[in-house]
């Protein structure tokens, strides 16, 4: 037991050592406050929304409780699925891919103890966020159902084995799978499968048009609906045991609650015992297999660089490197699937808009939506930039010394990065806007306006991604694509949102006048023309500044960075 505690200390000590870091990093208190505030706001929002939904459900006669319990069951199933997926990835990293494993395995400690310490670490890391952000929902249930102290205590007691079961099942799968497939490849495969699974579910749910469920015309009888809600979940799922236990707590039946909680605990204990036995036999073998060199999955020669011969040497070298690195990183492929799904859903949403049922005249609504769509498409672009452009500099990782020591200025390096991401993101944004406008059957004026506005704003948003990414790089991040959740990433997203809102705000008035004049066939006054001109000049100027200032800011900060 002492060995396991010792092995866990490198994870615990950094938490207590925070005070040492605070002394050396002056902005850290502000950052901590910033992130804590965002977390608290989100937590409160989940609580308030849950409270309102559950109060509403309880107010519905006959089916109110059924809806409330169905929601609880769904929350537990989704949480369990999230815990499983999160545990697979975390346990793979913690048990097989962490950089310190070589050091730990060189120590005179049996491998099963290393396994247990790592598994505890993995369980905590993979579950804390799911638990913290589902707690407000369970609190809301307790308040709405007027439950006593037993409910809260029992809920906590039911959640702990749910986490342990999810983590144990996932880790068991990982320990066995690593014997068959190398851990590095396995991680990519799991991420790919997980994302594909999510994409399929997401597409299936959206394309089944769930909004029709609230349309009474499509329902033959209320009874069919109620019967479908009452279908029980599988009795073999740990989430079902947690559900039965929490539900019993809500209705105040102690014996039922304790029985289901005890059932969960007994399964968790059995799983942990079984896991340790399997790990004792297989963990070290799997770890040894992970140490062997990875071979290439595909040996393609599609991107040998011959298509980029027209570019100057340094530009070509970075362009080719960037494309190859992107295509060979399997974790990037899954992101592409996700983006494809988001784009399909985005466009599909416009296709199924019930414009004809709206009391507002269709032509106004179509063009109003088209105008709002510009903003929405640009927010989608911001999300893509956050995923691709922002981490572009950090993706150089510790090989950044190559850039610093090469005969290429940092400015050129950043502009190369800019153009690599600008071209595909521009094409994507224009496709989004033009396709949705075609589906909305907007006027030619609105089509031209949307296309030009997006054309003007895309370089600014990409430049912000590259610029802020260069200003706040993290070359040591295990996963640079996650750097957007850092302080710099948040600044990037806030500034981007402000930029889009500002441009849309500046354009709104003139666009309304132009549109109305077009519809009514009237000519504009000189004052309106002047307003339109000023708005266009302002938009153009802001867009120019949005390109140059972040790039310069990033270059200045990056040049001062010590590597």
């Amino acid at each position: 037991m002492n060995d396991i505690l010792t092995l866990l200390k490198p994870r615990i000590w950094p938490l207590t050592n925070r005070r040492l870091r605070r002394r050396s990093r002056c902005g850290s208190k502000l950052k901590l406050f910033f992130f804590a505030s965002i977390g608290a706001i989100f937590w409160c929002a989940v609580f308030v929304v849950s409270l309102r939904i559950l109060s509403y459900f309880r107010g519905i006669e006959e089916v109110g409780d059924i809806l409330g319990y169905k929601l609880l069951s769904m929350i537990l199933i989704v949480s369990f699925a999230l815990l499983i997926f999160s545990s697979i990835l975390t346990s793979l990293s913690k048990l097989y891919l962490s950089r310190d494993l070589m050091l730990v395995h060189a120590m005179p400690v049996p491998s099963y103890k290393i396994f247990i310490a790592r598994w505890i670490d993995s369980t905590v890391e993979s579950s804390w966020m799911v638990i913290i952000f589902t707690l407000p929902i369970f609190c809301a249930y307790g308040i709405v159902y007027h439950s006593g102290a037993f409910y809260y205590a029992n809920t906590l007691m039911a959640l702990v084995p749910l986490i342990v079961n999810a983590s144990a099942i996932s880790t068991l799968m990982v320990v066995i799978a690593v014997i068959l497939i190398p851990a590095t490849r396995l991680k990519s495969i799991f991420i790919l499968l997980g994302i594909l699974f999510f994409v399929v579910i997401y597409l299936a749910i959206r394309l089944s048009r769930p909004e029709l469920l609230v349309d009474p015309e499509v329902f033959d009888t209320v009874m069919v609906y109620i019967t479908s809600l009452q279908t029980p979940s599988s009795p073999f799922l740990p989430s079902t045991w947690a559900y039965d236990s929490i539900r019993a707590g809500l209705s105040g039946t102690f014996s039922d609650g304790l029985f289901h909680t005890a059932l969960s605990w007994s399964f968790a204990a059995t799983m942990v015992f079984f896991l340790v036995v399997v790990a004792d036999a297989m963990y070290f073998k799997g770890f040894s297999k992970t140490q062997t060199a990875a071979s290439r999955l595909f040996k393609n020669r599609l991107t040998d660089g011959q298509y980029f011969n027209f570019l100057p040497g340094p530009v070509k070298s970075f362009t080719v490197k960037e494309i190859k690195t992107f295509l060979r990183d399997q974790t990037q492929w899954s992101q592409l699937f996700l983006i494809a799904a988001l784009v399909i859903i985005y466009i599909y949403n416009f296709k199924v808009l019930p414009l004809d049922k709206s009391p507002i005249k269709t032509v106004y609504l179509q063009n109003l939506l088209a105008f709002m769509n510009m903003g929405l498409a640009l927010f989608v672009l911001t999300a893509f930039s956050a995923r691709f452009a922002y981490p572009a500099v950090s993706l150089e990782r510790q090989a950044f010394w190559l850039v610093k020591s090469s005969p290429l200025s940092l400015r050129s390096f950043l502009w190369i990065k800019f153009f690599i991401y600008y071209v595909p993101l521009l094409i994507l944004s224009e496709i989004l806007v033009i396709t949705t406008n075609l589906l909305l059957q907007v006027t030619p004026f609105m089509m031209v306006l949307s296309t030009i506005t997006v054309f003007l704003l895309v370089p600014g948003i990409v430049a912000m991604g590259i610029g802020f990414g260069a200003a706040y790089p993290d070359f040591k991040a295990e996963n640079p694509t996650q750097t957007v959740t850092s302080f710099g990433g948040l600044i990037f997203m806030i500034v981007c949102a402000g930029y889009i809102a500002l441009v849309i705000g500046v354009e709104a008035g003139p666009v309304y006048h132009l549109f109305m004049a077009d519809i009514r066939g009237k000519s504009l006054t000189y004052a309106t023309w002047a307003w339109i001109l000023v708005s266009f000049v302002i938009t153009f100027t802001i867009s120019l500044l949005a390109i140059t200032l972040p790039m310069r800011y990033g270059e200045n900060r990056l040049s001062r960075l010590l590597i």
Partner: protein, 242 residues
């Protein structure tokens, strides 16, 4: 070929390199030795243009690093102590990447890449991803890439770390051969035997200050020891300085 004038680097209040003045001639192999934290890597990074000096100048082949960094860097072949590379490229692709970056013509690249890969025993691995390379292989790949553009100055930080004995002998011979052809080599090392065998002159740095420069014989005189190897000379010099 390399000229350091009043070169100083401060990290906050900490003085890492203190007013360093040094001139290294064309065709010379210069060794830079010193205890841990003495300022060797900081100096190397400033020579390579990776780190900006707090004061003073670095001149490479008569080109001021601060005023014309790109031109100065194009004369250097930089080899760091830790071989961080683009793991998702193959060895050959990394060489092509470097060649394009330094403007090496296609025909020259083809010949030099083949030569270097064979010289550093990487030919069989050239189509494999760098992520599958060992530490020593990555180090050899960096060396072969750094020599692709025939640099006038070679800056090496701990060249022998991770190399096997055969590669160490090969690299020592290579550096001397390049120097005979007119290249200037500036290398920092902890392996005093390597410095003794390879370098024309050696500089000893301690606490950011250059405390002695010269041939091994010069350093022996400076340390007031006779018939001692470089290890004893180094210990004597650094102990006296402390």
């Amino acid at each position: 070929m390399i000229e350091l004038t009043n070169l100083t680097k401060k990290y906050g209040d900490f003085l890492a390199v203190d007013n360093l003045n040094l001139t290294i001639k064309k065709g010379e192999v210069f060794g830079f030795i010193g205890p841990n934290g003495a300022g060797k890597t900081t100096t190397i990074k400033m020579i390579g243009g990776i780190l900006e000096p707090t004061a003073g100048t670095v001149s490479i082949a008569g080109i001021d690093m601060q005023k014309q960094p790109q031109l100065a860097k194009s004369k250097i072949g930089f080899i760091p102590d830790r071989p961080y590379l683009y793991e998702k490229l193959t060895g050959k692709e990394f060489l092509k990447f470097t060649a394009d970056l330094y403007g090496v013509p296609e025909n020259v690249y083809a010949v030099k890449a083949k030569e270097n890969l064979e010289m550093f025993s990487l030919a069989d691995w050239s189509d494999e991803l760098i992520e599958s390379y060992s530490h020593g292989m990555k180090q050899r790949l960096i060396m072969s890439a750094a020599l692709l553009h025939d640099p006038q100055v070679i800056v090496v930080d701990e060249p022998m770390v991770g190399l096997d004995p055969v590669a160490i002998v090969m690299v020592k011979d290579l550096l001397q051969r390049l120097a005979r052809k007119g290249a200037t080599v500036f290398m920092s090392t902890h392996t005093l035997k390597v410095a003794e065998d390879t370098c024309d002159r050696i500089g000893v740095i301690n606490s950011g200050r250059l405390i002695a420069v010269g041939t091994t014989a010069d350093l022996q005189r400076e340390a007031k020891v006779t018939h001692a190897d470089l290890e004893h000379v180094f210990l004597s010099l650094t102990n006296t300085a402390n």
